[in-house]
Every structure is written in structure tokens, then in C-alpha cells.
């Protein structure tokens, strides 16, 4: 029995178990219900407006953008949050005390964050299709594009989240910073309204980050080809989408292992204790 493979398999078991814990947690379910409900309300109010230059409803154009947004919300913020919290509560140190425990831990995280991201995508898609039934006719090619964009999105979000969670001083600081960043990017990435309405320099800024491309990729999958007219350059730009997302994924995958190794090496009980004391001072 190869011990590393064995630990990786245990990681799958761990990820599945943690997903089951999420599904049975009122807090986690509440979070999914509230975000989904908020997005559905947005779609509801957009149902009568149309996408400029087309006769598609604005809601139909927003739903794919929201699907793209679900990836950083779940995978990136999830990775940052769990890693920062689990460095503090000792989960990581527990993994370190086991043979091949870090392998199991990381595989488990990738699995649980991927499954929960997929689950949230499905929930939003099902809820959204009631309001924009014209998107239900998506063909096989469209679903494959959704799958491809989702995989690229996870690959760009998870390692990046792990890096941020590993270097963050405290879970609160990390969570707050990432939430602000994702919020700011949401405003400029054409999620709720076409990006072409924004100033040129803001458009340029949005092009650097994955969120705009995730939304664009999802729109290319779900909207009719004629809707490309509303995009920059009148095209879905699939090559550029793949390149930018892949670049983020590669950067994250290159950076994450050494940073995670460094974090794991430095982890110790007294360090955990210090962080716990700081956390208690923040509360007290």
C-alpha cells in the first residue's frame, strides 16, 4: 500500500465527511439559502429590462455572471477562511502529527471546497432557471463550457486562497480583506451590469482578475451567440478567457506548495497558543 496514495484516499473520505457536516449544519445551509435568495431577488427585478443591443432579458445575462461569482465566493473565500481558522484551532497541527496527514488534509480541503462550490452552482442554476427559462435550452457544448470554466475557476481560486490563508495573520483579517477584494471586483467585473458601461481604466483593471473572465465564460456557455454583440469586441473571447484563468491557476499552483510547506513547518503548539491568546484579546 502506497502511504501517500492511501492518505490521498483518506483525504477524499475527509472531504466527503466535511461536506456532509456542511449539509447538516444550519449555519452553512443558512448562508447558501440567503446568498441564493439575494441573487434570485436581483434576477427577479432584472427580468423586464433587456441587455443593451439585444432582446435578451438583463436577468438572463446576469445569471451566468452570478454563476461565475459563486466560484470565488465559495472556493477562494472558503479556502482562505478554513485555512486561517484551522491554523488557529489546531486542525492543521493535528494533520502534522499524523503520518502523511498533510496530504490527507489538503486533498480533503480541495474535495470539500470543490463539492460545495459545485453544489452552490447547481442550487443557483436551478433557482435561476425558473426566472430565466430561456436559458434551459443550453446544449451539450454549453454544459461542457460550464464544466471547463468551473474547473479552471477552481484551479485559479483554490491555490490562491490557500496562499492567502497560509500567510494571513488572523482569520478575521484574511476574511475581511478577501471579502472586500471580491466585493470590489464584483462591482467592476460586469457581473450585475455589462462591463462596457464602465470607464476604460476600470475595464482594464477588471481584465487582470479572474472574476470578469469567469462571468464571460459562463455567458458564452448559456447565452445565444447573438448576445456576444454586447461584449467587448463583440466576441466571447474564449482563448483569452482560458489564458487568463490558466495563468492565475499556474501562478497559484506554483506558489502554493512552498508557502504551504513553510506554513506547515512553522506550525507548533505554542504558536497556536499565541494566536489563541491574541484572538481572545480581540474578543475581550
Amino acid at each position: 500500500m502506497n502511504p501517500t496514495l492511501h492518505a490521498a484516499r483518506l483525504g477524499f473520505a475527509r472531504g466527503w465527511m466535511e461536506f456532509k457536516h456542511q449539509v447538516t449544519s444550519a449555519q452553512d445551509i443558512g448562508f447558501v439559502v440567503i446568498t441564493t435568495a439575494a441573487f434570485v431577488v436581483v434576477l427577479y427585478f432584472q427580468r423586464d429590462a433587456t441587455l443593451p443591443g439585444t432582446d435578451l432579458s438583463l436577468a438572463a445575462a446576469t445569471l451566468p455572471g452570478l454563476l461565475g461569482l459563486m466560484i470565488p465566493i465559495n472556493a477562494l473565500m472558503g479556502a482562505v477562511g478554513t485555512l486561517a481558522v484551522e491554523r488557529e484551532d489546531g486542525t492543521l497541527l493535528r494533520a502534522k502529527a499524523l503520518p502523511q496527514g498533510m496530504v490527507g488534509y489538503l486533498v480533503g480541503k480541495v474535495v470539500v471546497l470543490s463539492i460545495s462550490t459545485l453544489a452552490s452552482l447547481v442550487v443557483l442554476l436551478v433557482a435561476g432557471l425558473f426566472l430565466v427559462p430561456e436559458l434551459a435550452g443550453t446544449g451539450v457544448g454549453g454544459w461542457l463550457t460550464i464544466a471547463w470554466i468551473t474547473v479552471l475557476g477552481l484551479l485559479s481560486a483554490l491555490p490562491l486562497g490557500a496562499v492567502i490563508g497560509a500567510v494571513a495573520g488572523s482569520p478575521q483579517a484574511a476574511g475581511g480583506l478577501v471579502m472586500l477584494t471580491v466585493g470590489g471586483l464584483t462591482a467592476i467585473s460586469g457581473v450585475f451590469y455589462p462591463i462596457t458601461a464602465l470607464a476604460g481604466w476600470l475595464q482594464g483593471l477588471a481584465h487582470v482578475f479572474p472574476l470578469y473572465w469567469l462571468g464571460l465564460g459562463m455567458r458564452s456557455a448559456l447565452l445565444p451567440d447573438s448576445a456576444a454583440a454586447a461584449e467587448i469586441g463583440g466576441s466571447w473571447r474564449p482563448v483569452e478567457t482560458t489564458l487568463v484563468l490558466a495563468a492565475w491557476a499556474v501562478a497559484g499552483l506554483v506558489l502554493a506548495p512552498p508557502i504551504l510547506r513553510r506554513m506547515a513547518r512553522r506550525e507548533s503548539g505554542s504558536l497556536m497558543e499565541q494566536r489563541r491568546h491574541r484572538a481572545m484579546q480581540r474578543i475581550g
Partner: protein
């Protein structure tokens, strides 16, 4: 105890000579020197209590031995390997119970213990398979709570789970950092039984830190006192007590009057007392220096 060790000796073929070897161990944080030349060795199957005042470096020492911290200098070997470079097969032979753990709150007790035990499966040796998790849950007194979420356990129950997790892989060397902090007397008694069983039946080498001198005396074959960054005392509870003071205090009453006398040969003194006064002696009490007296004397001497 030594007979048990001989009987089970063949279980432990990989432990040659010493289980833990520390020499000239130094640790500095910035310009603060926490450990300044710590030396000791632990034989396979020994139970060692590491005592010392707060901030003496007990946790630092244990973390270095666990491989969680890299020392500033000196030589450290645990089961023949340098802990910081021990590798995964070495890790599988080490059990760790840290001071504070609040992890895996959503897991159920049996789920978590079972999951963690499976990491040891590829490393198990014939005759030293991972412990059965249901038995272990009973052994640490969590039988009624096996299906409970970890976050619902009380402080003492949580600690017992930590101990169970630390030993589930049947480690050859077990590190326990203040394992009984927050235990009620019954839990403490149960824990002591468990340590005795591990040491007697499984030949586990155990290094524990504690502030409870009574516990140290009950559990440990040998006591190490760490003060001022060095080991200042090393010996069985008895020999340490004798090092500091051979004197015993003899108290008695005669004709309603109370007497106290210090002597290094209490038996001869009491015999003389009875020869002289016979049944006139009442309320006889002979009290040797306790481990607590010894500990206080040694630490005071070091801090002076």
C-alpha cells in the same frame, strides 16, 4: 515493571538502546535563551515526567522532540532520528498530545477517531496494529459520548479524546503535554490507569509534563526537573527526595505533650523511643520529605 518489559521486549526490536537522546540542546528566541544545554536520555519503555516552573521551557523541549520546532543547537534523537527530519514512517511511531486543541468540532467522536486511526494502517507492524477505536473510546471513558459531536464535549472529555487520538496509532514514543489539566479526580485516576497499561502492556515510552507532583510520583519511573533552561534534577521520585533531604520528621505525644524530632534514621529512633517509654507513646507519625518539598527546594536553589 521490569519483568513486563522483558516479556514484551521482542515487540520493540526497533528500539535499540535509547528511545530519546538529548544532549547540549539549546533554544533561543531572539536574544532570549530558553534552553541552555539540556541533556537527558530515555530508555525504551520508560515513563518520564518533565517538571519545572512555568516558562522553564518544558513545552519548547517537547515540541522539539515532536519535530514541531527546530532547535538552535545541540543533538536530539527520537527513535534514532532527528525529529525535524523524521519523515512519515518515523511520524507513525510517535504519539502527540498537545496542550490545547479545539479542532474538528463538527465531527462525531467515533468518526474522528476512526478517520485518524486509518492514517496509521500502512505503517502498522505485525503485532502492533492500530488500536480498535471502539475499545479505545471505552478505555478513555468516552463510551457514552461516542456518537456526540466533538464541540459538545466538556473540557475534560475533549482532553480524553485528545489522549485517545494520541495513542490510536500505538506509538512507540508518546509525548503528553499537561494531559490531565482540567480533569476531575475520577478522570485523573482513569488516565493514570491508562498510562500504566500503555507502559506495561504495550511497552510505550512516555514523556509527559505536568504541574501535579502527585501525578508525577504515581506515573513516572523517573523525574526530570527543568529550571533555568537546564535539567537540574534527574532520578526516581525516591532518589530525588533522598538527595534533598534524608531526614524524616518524627512526631509523637507523651503525657499530653507533643514532640517533634528530625532524624536521618527514623526506624532506629522510633525503636529507641518505644524501648524507653513503651506504651506511653501515642499519636506517632513519621513523615519523610515529599516530592513537593523536594521540588520546591530544588527549584528555589536554582532560582537563587
Amino acid at each position: 515493571m521490569s519483568t513486563t518489559r522483558e516479556l514484551d521486549g521482542d515487540l520493540n526490536v526497533t528500539n535499540e538502546g535509547t528511545a530519546i537522546e538529548v544532549s547540549g540542546l539549546r533554544m533561543t528566541y531572539g536574544d532570549k535563551e530558553v534552553l541552555r544545554g539540556v541533556d537527558f536520555a530515555v530508555a525504551p519503555g520508560e515513563v518520564i515526567a518533565l517538571l519545572g516552573p512555568n516558562g522553564a521551557g518544558k513545552t519548547t523541549t517537547i515540541e522539539i522532540l515532536e519535530g514541531f520546532r527546530i532547535p538552535s543547537g545541540g543533538r536530539v534523537r527520537v527513535l534514532g532520528a532527528e525529529p525535524a527530519r523524521g519523515g512519515e514512517a518515523w511520524r507513525a511511531r510517535i504519539g502527540v498530545v498537545l496542550q490545547s486543541w479545539r479542532d474538528h468540532g463538527r465531527w462525531r467522536v467515533h468518526q474522528l477517531l476512526h478517520h485518524l486511526s486509518r492514517y496509521y494502517v500502512p505503517y502498522a507492524k505485525p503485532g502492533r496494529l492500530p488500536l480498535d477505536t471502539a475499545d479505545l473510546i471505552e478505555a478513555v471513558g468516552l463510551g457514552k459520548h461516542a456518537g456526540q459531536r466533538v464541540s459538545r464535549l466538556s473540557g475534560g472529555q475533549r482532553r480524553r479524546l485528545d489522549v485517545a487520538i494520541g495513542i490510536v496509532g500505538r506509538p512507540e514514543v508518546l509525548f503528553l503535554d499537561e494531559p490531565t489539566a482540567g480533569f476531575d479526580p475520577q478522570a485523573r485516576r482513569d488516565f493514570h490507569d491508562l498510562v500504566h497499561r500503555l507502559s506495561d502492556l504495550d511497552d510505550t515510552t512516555i514523556l509527559l509534563t505536568t504541574h501535579d507532583l502527585d501525578e508525577a510520583e504515581k506515573l513516572a519511573d523517573r523525574i526530570l526537573i527543568l529550571a533555568g533552561g537546564k535539567i537540574v534534577a534527574d532520578g526516581s521520585p525516591d532518589s530525588l527526595t533522598r538527595q534533598v533531604s534524608r531526614d524524616a520528621q518524627v512526631r509523637w505525644s507523651r503525657d499530653g505533650e507533643h514532640f517533634v524530632h528530625a532524624t536521618d534514621d527514623a526506624t532506629a529512633f522510633v525503636r529507641g523511643l518505644f524501648e524507653q517509654h513503651g506504651s506511653g507513646i501515642t499519636d506517632l507519625e513519621v513523615r519523610r520529605a515529599t516530592l513537593e518539598d523536594t521540588y520546591m527546594a530544588i527549584v528555589k536553589r536554582e532560582e537563587a
